[in-house]
């Protein structure tokens, strides 16, 4: 396609950011665009003649550059697949691919712009009233509305390449705003504190950096042009070691206790500050008249930015409409850039005075006082401005038509106070100071002075009152009512819409916002809040302060979801023997925080090898708590349903932990190592919460016990099977004989040269020992056991085999076979509850549950045919679900499906028939109250 032809730039000037010696090229809608280093996407496109940058949200009207400062919705484009990028702040980079959004088939011919002709179909509050009746119509309309609604398209494949990192940082003083005020605050604060200066532009200095008028900041020093004052301030910041500068960074949220949310180009910074100086400046407001959204109508500061920062001539003939002296500065800048200023239209009733108006008069720019622009003619480009005389704020009399291709407008400067107001109240929060034009400073000298004072206060330890800004006078630029006089550019809301909403009764600014959606778009009220407040004040006869403002909330500027999400962090815990499992080709699974071997091949074969020979399983993931201290018996008696003060040294007991309402939280073994010392295991995922739980029941009491989570310090291997004893005895001198080391006993000793604790327990139902030892010997112990068992046919087994084996023994897994309402009573473990203890955690709830009687019970079942149910399959009775399977497997022992299930208590009897719905068919099964394997428990004890 043809290249977009760039118009020549203005003569070089020190305020310009572009480097004319460095040319770059990028694509816009497939067409190559020429730019310079230092250009933004928007400045390059504008220089290349692009006037329409986007299509509006509701009516798809063409929109052009408005603020050129990243504060409005008008220049949103898609850059390399990322939607809603503000082209006026996005640096131009070689090779970037820029496309328009919200327009089809193209920006210039957007079919949906017919919506502009159907305005009456979308009255204010249309979300609440249009298309709802008749019902059928809504059903047809909804999918279409869905399709055209929203701004930009998300391309899921082109997220921010590396993801945004999150950073948590502290600073003594944070200064928000890198203009003259902010810099002055930072310099003063830096005399006694570490300072972070946060600025949303690529270059510090605020608007002063393109101000050519003379200023004297220090009375004794000769006045010099604003941009030179700015350069000097920036130089001072750069040479101050204690000031960290965050450029291109938006402070989008002010949270409790002075936490600032800051979005940089690649990071989300959560910066906690001792004190904050808000030097956020002010925002020039648009004027409201018919057609004020046409491409070519822009803020006067926007036009100045194009001229001063990028050397781009904004047009040939301009009309400047203003309500303050700002417009005079813009008119001069345009005039000096070779733009013919057809008229400077001042809405104020009296001629302006001061240096700027004098200069305008000297330049012979025609000036109309007490006049307003009432209409911008043209469609995709401005053709003329219609000007009328004002009387009492109302246009009257003859309409003058002034041909032009740009209209620059300048309403009042509104304090950019949205960030301060996020604290909720009208008061400035404590340890926050406002300075400069946000606090009402009227000129540069005042602003700099306030900045210095605020900086000094913020660095000091005294907590004087925040600076009372000289509050700006109550005034508002006049606005005109019309269907296409836009107040809110984001959501296409005109003065007529606002008037109508107020007529309908939404006369409070908060409800007006919700009903009309004004201030709710991408600009978050920066371009519209002041006008809405003024219209509301006029309509309701209130003063501006009575009208108040809408609630300000984060984010101040749009923040990408990927920035909030941050990078993906899924840390996984690996056991000390992890490499052994990988070498053995284990299939791994992530369970809770851990990565564990699911199986080394065939779970069924692994089960058989444990039953017939010997197997080892890595159980390092078990939670392990060391409890010691004179009151540890009392602590355990309190938190467990069972009795542990009576447990003799060297013995092990199964324990269940209940919440105080009697429901099961966790289970595990409790081993008494000494009078004042216990070793406790918990389920793999729960150890942290159990540690908290123990400590909670000790907090504020005089129980003297110490709970230490030793989970990651210890590895553990369960050696189980008929040959477990022979295997282990090759590695230790400990007496492992049936009588020398009985079931549910523990011993401390050396295994394979490593000091270990051995627990003789039998989760899988075989003769076996759980060997706990320091984690650093994990691989050594694993190898030693594999070697020792080689002659006996040892094989490692994984999680799945363990699940089959324990299920054959009817041993439950908390969380798998129990749920949030299960108690030890209905889980068939009444024996672990010692009601005779005067008190324990859960007793109140369990007494109540016992008195109420059970409704359901956990039972074993066996299939009669060859089917194997899935975990979770329903138990049905005449088609209705009455219970569910919690665990089911194929038993290697009986060769049939079996498992555990919740059934109504009347069915919880040996031999009762139940039906399980498996893949749609009801399959018969039998309740069985004895384990599938070794029901007398002989193997365990051999």
């Amino acid at each position: 396609m043809t290249k977009l032809k760039a118009a020549p730039r203005l003569d070089p000037h020190p305020t310009q950011l572009i480097d004319r010696s460095a040319s770059i090229e990028f694509a816009f809608g497939g067409r190559p665009v020429q730019a310079f280093e230092g250009d933004t996407v928007a400045s390059a496109l504008y220089a290349a003649g692009v006037r329409t940058f986007s299509r509006s949200f509701k009516y798809h009207r063409p929109r052009g550059l408005l603020c050129v400062a990243g504060r409005c919705p008008n220049c949103l484009v898609n850059v390399d697949g990322v939607p809603n990028v503000r082209s006026c702040t996005e640096a131009a980079r070689p090779g970037m691919n820029v496309t328009s959004q919200n327009a089809w088939p193209s920006l210039d011919r957007d079919i949906l712009s017919v919506l502009d002709r159907f305005g009456p179909l979308m009255p204010v509050g249309f979300y609440y009233k249009t298309f709802h009746r008749p019902k059928l119509f809504w059903r047809l309309a909804q999918p279409i509305i869905r399709r055209v609604a929203g701004l930009g398209k998300i391309d899921v494949d082109s997220a921010h390449p590396a993801g945004y990192a999150h950073q948590n940082l502290h600073t003594d003083v944070a200064v928000v705003g890198g203009g003259a005020t902010g810099i002055s605050a930072a310099l003063s604060a830096n005399l006694g504190a570490a300072v972070t200066l946060i600025d949303d532009s690529p270059v510090l200095g605020g608007h002063l950096r393109f101000d050519t008028t003379s200023h004297s900041v220090v009375p004794s020093v000769d006045p010099s042009p604003g941009f030179e004052v700015a350069a000097e301030l920036v130089r001072q910041v750069r040479s101050s070691a204690g000031i960290t500068v965050l450029s291109n960074s938006v402070a989008f949220g002010l949270y409790e206790d002075n936490l600032l949310g800051v979005l940089t180009t690649d990071r989300l910074v959560k910066r906690r500050a001792g004190r904050i100086v808000m030097a956020t400046g002010s925002i020039e407001q648009p004027l409201v008249f018919d057609g004020n959204d046409r491409p070519g109508v822009m803020l006067s500061s926007g036009a100045q930015r194009l001229v001063r920062l990028y050397g781009v001539k904004p047009g040939e003939t301009a009309v400047v409409a203003t309500a303050t002296n700002e417009g005079y500065a813009a008119a001069l800048d345009l005039h000096n850039a070779g733009v013919r200023v057809a008229a400077l239209v001042d809405t104020r009733p009296e001629p302006a005075w001061g240096a700027l108006p004098d200069a305008v008069r000297a330049a012979e720019i025609p000036t109309l006082v007490s006049h307003a622009v009432t209409l911008a003619e043209g469609r995709a480009e401005v053709k003329a401005a219609v000007v009328q005389k004002l009387e009492g704020g109302v246009p009257i009399g003859e309409r003058q038509r002034l041909a032009c291709d740009i209209i620059c407008m300048s309403g009042n400067l509104e304090p950019a106070d949205a960030l301060v107001r996020q604290s909720g109240g009208l008061d400035i929060p404590k340890n926050v100071y406002a300075a400069g034009s946000v606090a009402g400073a009227g000129n540069l000298a005042q602003a700099v002075d306030q900045g210095r004072q605020a900086g000094t206060l913020a660095a000091g330890s005294s907590s004087e009152l925040p600076l009372a800004g000289s509050s700006p006078p109550e005034r508002a630029a006049p606005f005109l009512s019309g269907k296409k006089s836009f107040v809110c550019f984001c959501e296409d809301i005109s003065t007529a819409d606002i008037d109508q909403a107020i007529d309908e009764g939404f006369d409070d600014i908060q409800t007006l916002k919700r009903y009309s959606t004004v201030t709710m778009g991408p600009c978050q009220g920066k371009m519209c809040h002041a006008a809405v407040a003024a219209i509301s004040a006029r309509a309701t006869g209130k003063s501006l302060s009575e009208v108040g403002s809408t609630t300000s909330r984060p984010p101040l500027q749009p923040v990408p979801m990927s920035a909030l999400a941050g990078r993906v962090h899924l840390p996984i815990k690996r056991t000390p023997m992890d490499r052994k499992h990988i070498d053995l080709g284990a299939k791994m699974v992530d369970l809770g925080p851990w990565r564990r071997p699911f199986s080394y091949g065939s779970p069924q074969d692994e089960s058989i090898s444990v039953r017939e020979r010997v197997g080892i399983i890595d159980v390092s993931t078990l939670g392990k708590l060391d409890v010691r201290g004179p009151d540890s018996p009392a602590l355990l008696d309190k938190v467990y349903t069972h009795n542990f003060s009576g447990l003799r040294n060297g013995r092990i007991r199964y324990g269940v932990l209940c919440a105080d309402n009697g429901t099961i939280m966790d289970d595990g073994t409790v081993t008494r190592l000494a009078d004042d010392r216990y070793f406790i295991t918990t389920t793999s995922g729960n150890v942290e919460s159990i540690e908290e739980w123990f400590k909670w029941w000790m907090a504020g009491t005089d129980i003297e016990a110490y709970v230490t989570n030793v989970t990651s310090g210890f590895a553990a291997i369960n050696v189980a099977g008929p040959k477990a004893r022979e295997t282990l005895s090759k590695l230790t001198d400990i007496d492992l004989s049936t009588d020398g080391f009985r079931y549910m006993r523990s011993k401390e000793g050396v295994v394979a040269g490593v000091p270990s604790v051995l627990l003789r327990i039998g989760f899988v139902g075989e003769t076996g020992w759980e060997v706990h030892f320091p984690g650093e010997f994990g691989e050594h112990m694993w190898d030693a056991l594999m070697d020792a068992g080689r002659d006996f046919g040892i094989a490692p087994f994984g999680l799945e085999a363990q699940r089959i084996l324990r299920l054959e023994k009817g041993h439950i897994i908390v969380g798998q076979d129990t749920d949030i309402v299960s108690t030890p009573l209905d889980s068939d473990m009444e024996w672990v509850v010692r009601f005779e203890k005067e008190d324990f955690i859960g007793r109140g709830g369990l007494v109540a549950a016992r008195d109420r009687g059970l409704t359901n019970k956990l039972v074993g079942f066996r299939m009669r045919d060859g089917t194997v149910p899935d975990d979770g399959d329903p138990i049905v009775d005449r088609g209705q679900p009455i219970g569910k399977v919690t665990s089911a497997r194929l038993s290697p022992t009986i060769g049939k499906g079996f498992g555990l299930a919740w059934v109504p208590v009347e069915l919880a009897e040996e031999g009762r028939n139940i039906s399980i719905r498996i893949a749609g068919a009801d399959v018969p099964a039998t309740v069985s109250l004895t384990p599938v394997y070794d029901s007398e428990g002989k193997r365990l004890k051999e």
Binding site: N168, E256, N661, E692, W696, A699, D839, G844, A848
Partner: protein, 85 residues
Amino acid sequence: MAFLLTCPNCGDRSVYEFRFGGELTQRPKPDSSSNDWTSYFYDRRNAAGTQKEWWYHKFGCRKWIVAARNTITNEVSETAWPDLG
């Protein structure tokens, strides 16, 4: 939610280091009525204003503390070691 909690052990720390443990409740005596137990299990005052709460310094010293927090403003007026007397 971004406020700071003053851990009596570790000083001012971000609330994200803590686990919330709910409002302070009074556990009934063992022989209390089942109504009292039920109310203790499930009823909460849920005050709109300052209440005493449990907080656990999970990513810190791993100790439980008690904080007086205003549930409307998140202002923490006091933190202390628990004392259940």
